[in-house]
Amino acid sequence: MRNKAAIFWLLVVLAVGAHQVQFWRSARLDTDVLALLPEDEQAPEVDAATRKLADQAGRELVLLVGAPDWESAQRAADLVTAELSKDASLLKPSVLDASSLDAALELYRPYRDRLLTPAQRTWLSRATAEELGGTALMKLYQPAGPRLTDWEADPLGLWPDWWAARASESTARPRDGRLWLSGEGREWVLLAWHSQVSAFALGADGNITTVVDRARAMVTSQVPGGRLVAAGVPLYAEAAASQASDEMSTIGIGSLVAVLLLVWLTFRSMRPIVLVGVSLGIGCAVAMSVTALVFERVHLLTLVFGSSLVGVAEDYGFHYFAARQGKPPSERGPLMRSLLPGMVMALLTSVVAYLALGVAPFPGLRQMALFSATGLVGAFLTVACWFPTLDTGALPETAFARRFAASLARWPRFTSNRVWWSGTAALVLFIVGGLWRIQTRDDIRQLQGAPAHLIADQRELGRLLGLPSPAQFFLVGGQDEEQVLAREAALKARLDPLVTANVFAGYRAVSDWLPSAEQQRADAKLSASAEAQAVAAVAQATGEAPTRARFADDVLTPERLLASPASAAIRQQWLGRLGEKHFSIVMLRGLTDPSMLPRLADTAEGLEGVRWVDKTQEISKLLERYRRLMGGLILLGYFGVLLLLVARFRRQAWRAWLPTVVGTLVTLAVFGWVGEPLQLFSVLGLMLLLGMGVDYGIFMLEHPGEGSAWLAVALAGVSTLLSFGLLGLSATPALRSFGLTMLLGEVTIWLLTPCCRLPPGKDVS
């Protein structure tokens, strides 16, 4: 029976091993913070919009190379280009050059007559025949003339203005065959590259980051006053991957070394070390494989969080060896059978605690929950199926284990006297004071541990380039494409006064590049009438018979525009058909003052099909909602656990319950005193704390006065709090908060549980 289980588990482990080899070779790891968040079921189009904006940027690397003068800036840009071109398998230049402008000119040329700026529209409908004729004549006779068309195709010279309006959406301008902008005391060259690397594997050395850093060093050392500002998802992803690698090693290896050291101190034998190590390794591998199979992509933060598993999954090995110590090898079969019920109970409570993290529909949390729960099961099955077979030799009780087991009797125990009561009063004051001060924060930044210099670069680049914000935009929906474009126009009419009032710098809308068919027809009519008057005036003045060129019969359609490379500028904003409706995004540039956001939200009021989306605020609200929900669940959990304990231990139930309650309160109080805000992830930490903390109390009540129980609890507690303590070092605020919560809570519970033990000689009954 036991051998069958061992062989079965061996087969499972071999399968997992095979999967692991494949997994690490072609790891599809997620570094995107948005992947951690739940989808918005009520508004799938908002998710689609956000995702499209994020995908677009997925591989882009944008660089600004600046110097005090244009000559040096160009030299610096050449240095950077040379450096980035060295490895063609890593980065390729994005096309930003003149050929895409030529393609756009050719696409729009037949429709020139129906592309007008709002100012031109006003002027054309107001200008007299004399004014139109005079303007056409002056432009005709003006010395030299860079025109985009023949005179006949644009007698009033309207088209260059339309292009100037389109170009004003970016601060970059063509200059000497480069894209140039001037700002903050420097002249800049804009460079765009895209990454050739699709997925980000752990342990990657941050290749793109290295190349960019090298280019930056060259610019600063070889060009006086030179500066390189770089931003892009590849840099964030590489930073996240290398940070996660570091943290996984710190947490994983740190906990492993600590666990094995504890095993060595306690058992002084190689066999427990190897076996506990094997159970942890298999637990982690099973966790990884199951998570990778269930979820399409494993998130980096899952792996970082998962590293703390080492400090929890050792429990079963500890329990086995603590009971096995000093007993002859022949007893190990029956011993395992006698331990199994307790171990299964412990496993179940921990697994339930972990799975409770997955109650919130956050894909990221569900990954972490599944990872930890399956990891525990994997470690447990290894202990249960393999340990009795593999653990053959003798294992004498060590002096350390004996001395430690005996230490329980000397541990202080709560008794009703003045010292204990005044201590309790002080603790209550500390807790009340701390709770009074506690603050909350629900902010997407808690999920983001990006290095400060990357964020600073991103800001500087956005400022210089006047890039639109990807987190705040208008979503415009309609029955068909024409309606979407018309509704955009209605929205733009409301936004224009805000641009004039400098609330933000400008907007980017598809309808600027592709007016609605109705607008195109109206503009074609307007320009035809105005230009006919202009041509007639010129004919009269010159005595010749020039004619106005013919234009396309139909309007420019979305299909035509999207099929052309000229649509690059607006493709990411055109969502097309989603379900029953069509959607587009109107983005805002130079939106720097958050206090203006409510005004923008008001702008969409009463406009049919227009919706203001503030992703940052939505995420904050989501995090807040779940923080409150999980907080309520924890309260319920405490009462549920209390009921269970009362059912089992009657009047002694408080001895197992109180340490965890106090642990939770002390953690919250410390957060309050040191000013660490309470957030969703610290609340989730409290939930896990409830699941694990109560176990110690149960164990002490089940085996009152038994040294080996105390030994097992102590070993388990030390390794658990070490793992979570190391998680508290994470650069990701959410994980740090989680780790700190667990660390503070575990220490308090671990110290208090033996204080609440039964008096010597008594038991629960």
């Binding site: 002056m138 010395p143 030299a144 025109r147 000497d176």
Partner: protein
């Protein structure tokens, strides 16, 4: 915008030039003028018009401030280009247009080019154009400019300059087939700008 710049560029373009010998030769033959005025005759061949469009008038170039280009025939109009703006007005007052540098950021770039030209920055000009030329006789010279910059070559095929102490003729071959020939006459470094002219340049 650009077209006005090019006008300014061409009028002073002669201070910068080509292949080392020719460049220094042309430079030596050109007068260094902070102010230049004279008459012009422009013949434009434009597709859709059978005969060349001829216009005549007077111009004023102030190296520090800008260019005034006043047409007298076939109709009266004024064109003013300064660092801040471009404006044109018909003599009858019937039509006018105005461009602001703050609204058209390209104008700032244009000005920088002008400064490069005015200060005889050969390097700047040869970045945008391939410059070829020859010295003619004891005082004359000819230059051919071919744009190397994608933006400029969308507008010009080539530009031909001829002159001696001053630029005497400019011929523009536009990319779309139109051509312009501008002849200068009665060139002089005096008198200084009148009050009206100074006011226009100060805009």
């Amino acid at each position: 915008m650009k077209r006005a710049l090019l006008l300014g560029m061409l009028l002073v373009g002669s201070t910068a030039s080509a292949g080392d010998d020719v460049i220094s030769g042309v430079r030596a033959r050109l007068a260094d003028v902070p102010l230049l005025r004279g008459d012009f005759e422009q013949k434009k061949t434009v597709s859709g018009f059978k005969k060349p469009l001829v216009s005549r008038g007077a111009f004023l170039l102030s190296r520090e401030q800008g260019v005034l280009w006043d047409t007298r025939e076939p109709f009266a109009s004024t064109l003013t280009l300064t660092r801040k703006s471009l404006s044109a007005e018909q003599g009858t007052g019937a039509a006018a247009y105005h461009l602001d540098a703050s609204k058209e950021p390209g104008l700032a770039a244009v000005n920088e080019v002008m400064f490069a030209l005015l200060s005889g920055d050969v390097a700047a000009l040869s970045k945008r154009f391939r410059v070829e030329g020859e010295l003619v006789g004891t005082a004359g010279w000819k230059l051919t400019l071919t744009p190397t910059d994608a933006g400029l070559s969308r507008v010009f095929k080539s530009i031909h300059l001829e002159g001696d102490t001053y630029v005497r003729q400019v011929k523009l071959d536009e990319a779309r087939g139109d051509t312009s020939v501008i002849q200068f006459d009665k060139l002089s470094q005096t008198p200084p700008p009148s009050d009206t002219e100074a006011k226009r340049l100060a805009k």
